[in-house]
Every structure is written in structure tokens, then in C-alpha cells.
């Protein structure tokens, strides 16, 4: 392989709001540069998780290297990084941005700028990246490219007049995007002869190769045999293989010089040795100082995750460890629940992040899980002056020890078509929102600014938003700190025993309502048993709501003759299986779906 000419490398990413077509554009680029033939193409090549294809979203950043022969006759190496769009995956975005020298901003010609368009642009600007706008979906009848261009110039303040107007779907004008990349995105800098300095921006575990590190080489060169030193974890390993990313496969190469993006394997078995954001250097010739790495993202939403089959605890631990390898924002620590046994308290960036991790655990590790009600981090100030950060409602000190509590607030920005401003404002009021301001982006669309308690948006706020705006609202938020609030712990008692997995912290003014709903829901979901079961909601020792599951009186097949026997046996088998999927609290059997449906109290 000829020596790589640094000036012919372009490292860039694609950023966009959900659904504006960035994965489709990535597909087209891969196809047009001949990396895959049309026959090999399937939609959203880079979204290789089933979950990503199903939901049409990108969860994990993906890298792919292609070679493009530009109009100037030169061949360029394009390292393209596809990034997630949702606010919950900021961490992923931030990581991929650090590996790039420029970014393409895809904007839907019909939808225009949306909440996450903005937040991703700001993120790119924070990383000092050039942002090249691309107007996509011009094939749509509702496309208004001119309007969108002026929107980009007005709202974001970047030049967009010459932005390529394309349709990633049909392939129209996509070549102009490639020219744009070659001409406007700067070539990487860095001295291939300097001491090695590379940024880890991703890693996955492979059972044959060990940990596979995705890295951007900033300075120096890495090749087989290099003794690498991970500056934060202080691990030293010898490189076994380096290479770059084809579409969905890894292609080994001689070396990765400064400016390149590629992978490194070094028979690393211990996943915790390779921390995303860490700097790799040469153990024999270390660089002077580490790269700044990433801003650490702190989890904002916590919940307990338990295997429904207690024997799978170890599998769950391994799965979480492997997921965390590639998602440093995922936090977990062991916890025990009276009702659910051994599991983990996990921290997430948001509710979508939680849902995605839960789905991945189920699908990729074949785990059957029970998730407890999500909780945010509360600050509990005790009478003795100390303060604890509470992530698990079970650990709330006795009310007599508490001076006061604080809950996290977010600055929420909701973009909605003017028809739905009313219902959305109502929703925000219901969720204890404090109205700040409203402005019109254009005649038919407004931006609402609210302060909202985070614990009000982790319960299906996004779903409620979508249903009340018929899907026309987009939502973004940022943390803004803590505020003193009147909070209580709502205990749920089943047959007079407190069920830790169902207890949660709630605003005092909503406690009565929530307790009542919860009891009603549980009454619906807990099957009648041999004895009467009281279900109570309580604050401290005060019962605020009660329902009763009456004792079962009838569970019998009246008729059973020759022709029915096989069928009746199947019915009984089904009943027996159903029983296995129950958790026991005292001598009450609770179906595991109860823990799930308790999370969905706000539906309807």
C-alpha cells in the first residue's frame, strides 16, 4: 500500500435531526464511492443493529472509510462517521465529533430546522468543526429549499446559499456533496513522525480479537507490534492488528499514520482497560500530555434492572459491562430488591437511552428483564446539614431526618406548529412546568420555553407530547440545576408488605392522584389469589389510597370429557407457565408485567 498522503484524507461526520436522512445520505455515499455494489446495499447500511433499523434511528456512531476520485483527478480517503441524532445520545455525537475535522449538516427541505438540528450544530461548533449545510429531500412535493436556506442563515447564522440541494433517496446531486467534502473540509493535521497520540472514540468486544478500539490518530503512527499505553487506565498492550472500516467489515492495513481513523486490536481481554475518551500513546516513546478527552456525561435517569430469571444475574452483569465499553454514559451498580432479588441500579442520559439499553439487553443478550420505575437524582438535605444524592427511592432517609429536598430542573425547548400550542402548554402546566417565553420561528411554528422538573419528563413526556401534537412537536432539553421542592416517597404495599420495586418519589401535590392510579392499576394486574390482598399507597405511615384484590373463588373447568382432554391439558399447562413468570412478595404472586405497566401510569 502506497504511503498515505495526509492532504488527501477527509474526516467528517454527518449530523442531523432525526429522520432528516443522514443515514440515507451515508448509504448513498457508500454506494457512489463503490464501496458496496448496489446489489450489496441494503437501506441504512451503517445502522446494523436491528433496533436501529426498526426505529429508523442511529444509536451507535459508525465509521466507514471510502475512496473517492474527485473532479480534480485525485483520490481522497473519506472517513465518514454516522452519528445518532437524539438528545439522549449526545455523548455518542460528542465522541464522533472529536474524531472529525468537519461536519455535514443535513436539513430536511420540507421540515426545516428542528430542535436537534440546533443542538447538534452547537455541539459541532463547540468542537471547532466547520459545518457544511446540505439541503436534503428536495424530491418531496412539500420541499421548500429556499425557505430552509434562509432559515439556516437566520437561525444558525451560517452561509447556506451554496449548500448542495440533494435527494439522498434518489441520489440526485449527491456527487456535489462529495466535492463539497473534498474542497471545504480541511485535511487533518499532525506529524506522523511525532510520538503517538490517538483518541479512543469507540470500542467493541469481539470474542476472537478481544477489544477492538476505534481511534483517531492525532500524532505519530501506530502499527502491528507497537507497545501502546492507555494514559488513563495505564494499561499496556502490544498491537496485533491495525486497519480501517469498510462497510460493515474491518480491513487490516500496515499502519495508521496521523490524520487517519481506524481500529486497533491488541488481544485486550479486559474491557475496562479501554476507556472511551482515553489517549493512546507509544509506551516506548510517550507523548507529553493526554488529549482533553470528552466531557463526562452524567446519567440523569436511574432505574433498577433485574433479570426475571434470577439465574441470569451473571449474564446481565456481563452484558452491562460490554454495553458500557462502548457507552461510557451507561452507569450501573449492584442492588438488591426484596421483590425482585439481585439486579443493577443503572443510570442513563434520558428515557430513550434507558429504553434502548433495555431493548439491547433483551435482544443482543437474550435477557428477560424487569425494570423498576425510573427515578432522577434528588438532593436530600438532612437536619444534620449533610446532603445525599439519592438515585434509589429505597435509600431515602426517614422523613424526620430530612430538612428539605431538591429536584433537578431542565430548560425545555419545544418546537411546535401553532395549532398545537394550546394543548402543549396545557401538558407543560400539568407537568409542573414554569412558562418562560414563546417566540415564532416563522408564521406557523413557535418555540416554547419552559422550566420543567426532570422527574416529570421521564414518565412518557415525549409520548404525551407526540400524541397531543399529532407528532408535530419536537423537544429538546438541557439540565439547569436543582430547585427546592415538596417531595415525598410514595410506598406501595401489597398485602401489607412494602414493595420496594414499586415505590417512587413524587411531588407531594401529585401524590394522592398517583397513589390512586397506581393502586387501581395494580388491582387490574394482580390476579385473584387464594386470599384477599389489600393494595395500599402510603406516605410514611399514612395510607392515601387502597384497593382490594378479592380472593379467588372460581378457577375450574366445568366440563371435561374425552374430546376435551388434550385441550384442557393445554389450558392447565398455560396456567402453569404463567405462574413461573410471577415474582413473589410474601405469599402473593405478582406477574412481572406489573412492574412494567406501573411505568405507564400516564397513558390514556
Amino acid at each position: 500500500m502506497a504511503e498515505i498522503d495526509q492532504s488527501k484524507i477527509r474526516n467528517f461526520c454527518i449530523i442531523a435531526h432525526i429522520d432528516h436522512g443522514k443515514s440515507t445520505l451515508a448509504d448513498r455515499i457508500i454506494e457512489m464511492t463503490g464501496l458496496l455494489t448496489q446489489r450489496e446495499m441494503q437501506d441504512q447500511v451503517l445502522d446494523n443493529m436491528d433496533l436501529e433499523r426498526e426505529r429508523g434511528i442511529t444509536i451507535k456512531a459508525q465509521v466507514v472509510r471510502t475512496v473517492y476520485k474527485a473532479k480534480d483527478g485525485e483520490e481522497y480517503i473519506l472517513n465518514m462517521i454516522d452519528t445518532p441524532g437524539h438528545v439522549d445520545f449526545h455523548y455518542e455525537v460528542s465522541r464522533s465529533l472529536a474524531a472529525c475535522d468537519g461536519s455535514l449538516l443535513v436539513v430536511d427541505a420540507a421540515q426545516g430546522i428542528e430542535a436537534q438540528t440546533l443542538s447538534n450544530v452547537y455541539l459541532a461548533l463547540e468542537h471547532d468543526l466547520d459545518v457544511l449545510p446540505i439541503i436534503n429531500k428536495i424530491d418531496l412535493p412539500s420541499a421548500k429549499p429556499k425557505q430552509v436556506i434562509s432559515e439556516i442563515e437566520d437561525v444558525i447564522g451560517i452561509e447556506a446559499k451554496e449548500a448542495p440541494q440533494i435527494s439522498a433517496k434518489t441520489g440526485q446531486n449527491v456527487d456535489s456533496v462529495l466535492e463539497e467534502v473534498v474542497q471545504k473540509i480541511p485535511a487533518p493535521a499532525g506529524d506522523p513522525g511525532a510520538p503517538l497520540k490517538a483518541l479512543i472514540f469507540g470500542s467493541v468486544y469481539d470474542s476472537y480479537k478481544g477489544v477492538i478500539i476505534s481511534a483517531r490518530i492525532m500524532e505519530g503512527t501506530v502499527k502491528r507490534g507497537t507497545k501502546i499505553y492507555m494514559m488513563a487506565t495505564k494499561a499496556v498492550e502490544e498491537v496485533v492488528e491495525v486497519g480501517y472500516f469498510g462497510a460493515g467489515k474491518m480491513i487490516p492495513c500496515e499502519e495508521l499514520p496521523a490524520g487517519m481513523v481506524g481500529y486497533i486490536t491488541a488481544s485486550i481481554k479486559n474491557v475496562s482497560d479501554t476507556r472511551v475518551g482515553d489517549t493512546i500513546t507509544d509506551n516506548c516513546r510517550p507523548c507529553a500530555e493526554a488529549l482533553p478527552g470528552y466531557k463526562k456525561m452524567n446519567p440523569m435517569v436511574y432505574c433498577g434492572i433485574y433479570p426475571s430469571d434470577g439465574a441470569k444475574y451473571g449474564v446481565l452483569r456481563d452484558a452491562l459491562e460490554k454495553l458500557q465499553l462502548n457507552d461510557a454514559s451507561l452507569f450501573y451498580e449492584p442492588e438488591t430488591s426484596m421483590a425482585l432479588g439481585f439486579g443493577y441500579r443503572c443510570g442513563f442520559l434520558g428515557f430513550l437511552h434507558l429504553e434502548i439499553i433495555q431493548e439491547r439487553l433483551k435482544r443482543e443478550y437474550n435477557l428477560d428483564l424487569i425494570t423498576t420505575a425510573p427515578s432522577v437524582i434528588y438532593k436530600v438535605y438532612r437536619i444534620d446539614g449533610s446532603c445525599i444524592e439519592l438515585t434509589n427511592p429505597s435509600n431515602l432517609p426517614h422523613p424526620s431526618e430530612i430538612e428539605y429536598m431538591e429536584e433537578p430542573l431542565v430548560k425545555a425547548k419545544i418546537i411546535v406548529t401553532t395549532d398545537f400550542v394550546g394543548p402543549i402548554m396545557q401538558l407543560c402546566e400539568e407537568r409542573r412546568g414554569q412558562y418562560q417565553s414563546m417566540e415564532y420561528i416563522e408564521q406557523t411554528r413557535a418555540v416554547l420555553h419552559y422550566y420543567l422538573p426532570l422527574n416529570e419528563i421521564i414518565y412518557d413526556f415525549f409520548g404525551a407530547l407526540q400524541s397531543r401534537s399529532r407528532g408535530y412537536a419536537s423537544f429538546d432539553y438541557e439540565m439547569m440545576g436543582y430547585e427546592r421542592s415538596d417531595l415525598v416517597k410514595l410506598n406501595i404495599l401489597v398485602n401489607r408488605e412494602e414493595v420496594d420495586a414499586l415505590s417512587f418519589i413524587v411531588y407531594k401535590g401529585s401524590a394522592y392522584e398517583r397513589g390512586k392510579k397506581m393502586c387501581a392499576k395494580l388491582k387490574e394486574e394482580i390476579p385473584r389469589q387464594l386470599f384477599e390482598i389489600p393494595i395500599q399507597a402510603a406516605i410514611g405511615s399514612k395510607i392515601i389510597a387502597r384497593e382490594t384484590v378479592k380472593a379467588m373463588r372460581k378457577d375450574v373447568l366445568a366440563k371435561c370429557y374425552g374430546g376435551d382432554i388434550s385441550r384442557k391439558k393445554k389450558l392447565l399447562e398455560k396456567q402453569k407457565k404463567g405462574k413461573k413468570r410471577m415474582s413473589r412478595i410474601g405469599n402473593v404472586e405478582i406477574p412481572q408485567k406489573v412492574f412494567m405497566s406501573a411505568l405507564k401510569l400516564d397513558e390514556k
Partner: protein
């Protein structure tokens, strides 16, 4: 010689009742004729396999077997006698729906060997009969009842259903007393089951079904009232005067071998459960060759047999005998099911007395819960 039971299915009805999910339908005379021919073919075709069996009971059920002319029933019984060894004292039952029989017809049944009649009465109140979708009134039942006694039947069952829309404990008790005072030898009382796909199931929200508590009160009062009239409850839904328990049905609950003839009929022969096709066309064409119409074959292993022994044995109020279990399977009952018995004995659903294990009153109503734990 081994013992077996024979069941013959007649899948025809005048109309389909609102609660019924049995394999039955309305069919014209021509189909009925062809079906009888096919039955004969199956009877003859299957006989080779049962050379070393004696038949202890025959049950002709449906549908509405009494829809057939007397010749039909006579023909079936004649063929059976020609091809199988039917014991002298065999119990031979036919299901009869009121309004489909004359005195003459019942006399002919009697002459052709039928010695037990099972009447589908279901209720004594005409409005209830109407809501069930029955074709007869209570007066018509009374008429058929008289005919049967006149024809000389000394072993008659009457079917009733409790838990009907609009029924309450009082109206149920009145109906029950009215039937008991006729003094039939046997009464079957079924708590209504809402079966998927039936009009009752589809419209359950609109129909005024009694709640679970009153429904169970009806069940308990059935036991109490019938006891006064001299009936004993020998199974979850069956009551009789002493010595008139249905011998055919007892076979199902005690693991007897039985062969089901006709469309969709089920059989247990040796270790194998199987079922005939429910496809009329297939049945009519192939009934002579048992292999072509048998499906859903299930081979029972020892564990299955043990579970069935418990599950179906516990339907009987006398339950199961420990000695019999051990004799049959060569292992003490408690060694296999000690844990389950202990659990439900403690919960008050099972009782153990004089070497027998049986359900308590409460256990009878919650029997699914208990039985499901005996499954392998």
C-alpha cells in the same frame, strides 16, 4: 380381554346454540346420509385393531344424535355389535334434545339396545332457553321426558347449566328443584363456560352474567339441594342416585381406553391420544382407513400418565387412591407428588383420608390451580 369404551359423534344440530363451541353444525339430509355411511365404514375399518377388546360402554353424542331417525341410531348400534364384542351389561347412552323425539322414536332406541338417555334440558325457564338459543321450550322437554319414561328408560340424565345471563341464586334454585323433583337418575350441572368464538363470548359485556360470587353460591347450593333429593356429587359437575354414575364418563377420568368414532372424535388407546379429522370432506372420503383421518397424535410417557391420573382423578369427589397409583406405576404416590399434596393440603384445597387424596369443597372450585401443578 382388555376393556374399552366407544364414543360415536353425530355433528348435526337444528341450529347452533349461543354458548356452544362443540363440533356441530346444521346439515341437510343428504350430508347426514353420507355421514352415516362413513361412520359405518369407520366402524368396520377400525374393528381389526380391536379384536382383543371388550366394549363396556357406548356413548352416542353430538351435536344432536336424536336428530337422526330411529333407523340411524339402530344402524350404528347394529354395525357396532357386528364388529365388536359388546358386553351384555354394557351402558349404551344417546344424547337427546327435547323437541327432536317422538315416543315412537324413543321406543325404537330402546329396542335397538339403548339403555340410557341424556337430555339436553339446560333450563326450566323458557326465557333462559330462548337466550341460550335452544330450539325447545320447557314444556317440550316435559313431553320428551314423559315419552322416555313411557318407552321404558330407567336410567336418564338431565343436563342443566348454571350461571346464565339474568340468573340469580333464587331462580337457579327453583329450576334445580323442579328437575330434581322429576327424580331423574342422574343430573349434570355445568357452570357456563364462555368459549371464544361463541355469541355469548362475543357479547359478554352486554349480557347480564351473574358475578363470580353469586355464580359460586349457585354451585354450592346445587350440591346442598341435590343432596336433599338423594343425589350425591361424584364429579365436579355430575350428580347421581347411588349406582347410576355415568360409567362411560367415569372412564375418561380414570384413564380407561376409549375409541372415538366420527368427525373430530378423540381417542386414547394404549399410550396414544389422537383425534379424527374435523374436515367433513376428508372424513367422508377416508373414514374406512383410520390412518388417513387420525391426527394430533400425542404419545404419553410415564410422567404424562401419572399427571393425567392425578388431574382427571381429582375431578372425582372421591379423588385418587394411593394404592391404585402405586399398583399402576410401581412407585408411591407421595414420592412423586408429595410436595404438591402438602402445599394444597396446607392451603385447604386438598384432603387426605383413608388412603385417598381428594379436593375439598373449596378445592373443587379452584381445581385448575391444584391440577396444573401436577403437570410434568
Amino acid at each position: 380381554m382388555k376393556e374399552m369404551k366407544l364414543y360415536v359423534h353425530i355433528p348435526f344440530c337444528v341450529r347452533k346454540c349461543n354458548y356452544c363451541d362443540f363440533l356441530s353444525f346444521v346439515a341437510d339430509k343428504e350430508i347426514q346420509e353420507r355421514y352415516l355411511k362413513a361412520l359405518e365404514a369407520e366402524i368396520v375399518g377400525g374393528s381389526k385393531a380391536f379384536m382383543d377388546y371388550e366394549v363396556s360402554t357406548v356413548f352416542i353424542g353430538g351435536g344432536t344424535p336424536s336428530l337422526l331417525e330411529a333407523d340411524g341410531i339402530e344402524g350404528i348400534l347394529k354395525r357396532l355389535k357386528q364388529n365388536y364384542f359388546i358386553r351384555e351389561e354394557a351402558e349404551i347412552s344417546v344424547e337427546v334434545n327435547p323437541g327432536t323425539v317422538s315416543e315412537e322414536k324413543l321406543k325404537r332406541y330402546r329396542e335397538s339396545g339403548v339403555n340410557r338417555i341424556s337430555f339436553g334440558c339446560q333450563s326450566t325457564l323458557n326465557e333462559e332457553l330462548k337466550s341460550l338459543g335452544r330450539i325447545h321450550t320447557f314444556e317440550e322437554f316435559m313431553e320428551s321426558w314423559e315419552f322416555a319414561r313411557e318407552a321404558g328408560f330407567k336410567n336418564i340424565n338431565v343436563d342443566l347449566i348454571s350461571g346464565l345471563p339474568g340468573q340469580d341464586v333464587n331462580s337457579w334454585e327453583r329450576s334445580l328443584r323442579e328437575i330434581a323433583s322429576l327424580s331423574p337418575e342422574h343430573i349434570s350441572v355445568y357452570s357456563l363456560i364462555l368459549e371464544e368464538g361463541t355469541p355469548f363470548y362475543e357479547n359478554q359485556e352486554k349480557l347480564n352474567f351473574p358475578d363470580e360470587d353469586s355464580e359460586r353460591m349457585m354451585y354450592e347450593s346445587t350440591h346442598d339441594i341435590l343432596a336433599v333429593y338423594g343425589y350425591w356429587q361424584y364429579e365436579i359437575s355430575n350428580y347421581s342416585k347411588t349406582g347410576y354414575e355415568c360409567r362411560h364418563n367415569l372412564g375418561y377420568w380414570t384413564g380407561a381406553e376409549y375409541w372415538g368414532i366420527g368427525l373430530g372424535s378423540s381417542s386414547l388407546i394404549g399410550n396414544i391420544r389422537f383425534r379424527n379429522t374435523s374436515d367433513m370432506k376428508c372424513y367422508l372420503e377416508n373414514s374406512y382407513h383410520p390412518d388417513l383421518i387420525q391426527e394430533e397424535t400425542e404419545r404419553l410417557n410415564k410422567m404424562d400418565h401419572q399427571a393425567e391420573f392425578m388431574i382427571f382423578g381429582l375431578r372425582l369427589t372421591e379423588g385418587v387412591a394411593e394404592r391404585e397409583f402405586e399398583k399402576k406405576f410401581g412407585i408411591p404416590l407421595r414420592q412423586v407428588y408429595g410436595k404438591q399434596i402438602e402445599k394444597y393440603w396446607k392451603a385447604g384445597l386438598l384432603k387426605q383420608e383413608r388412603g385417598r387424596i381428594f379436593l375439598t369443597r373449596r378445592g373443587l372450585s379452584l381445581s385448575n390451580m391444584v391440577m396444573s401443578e401436577f403437570l410434568p
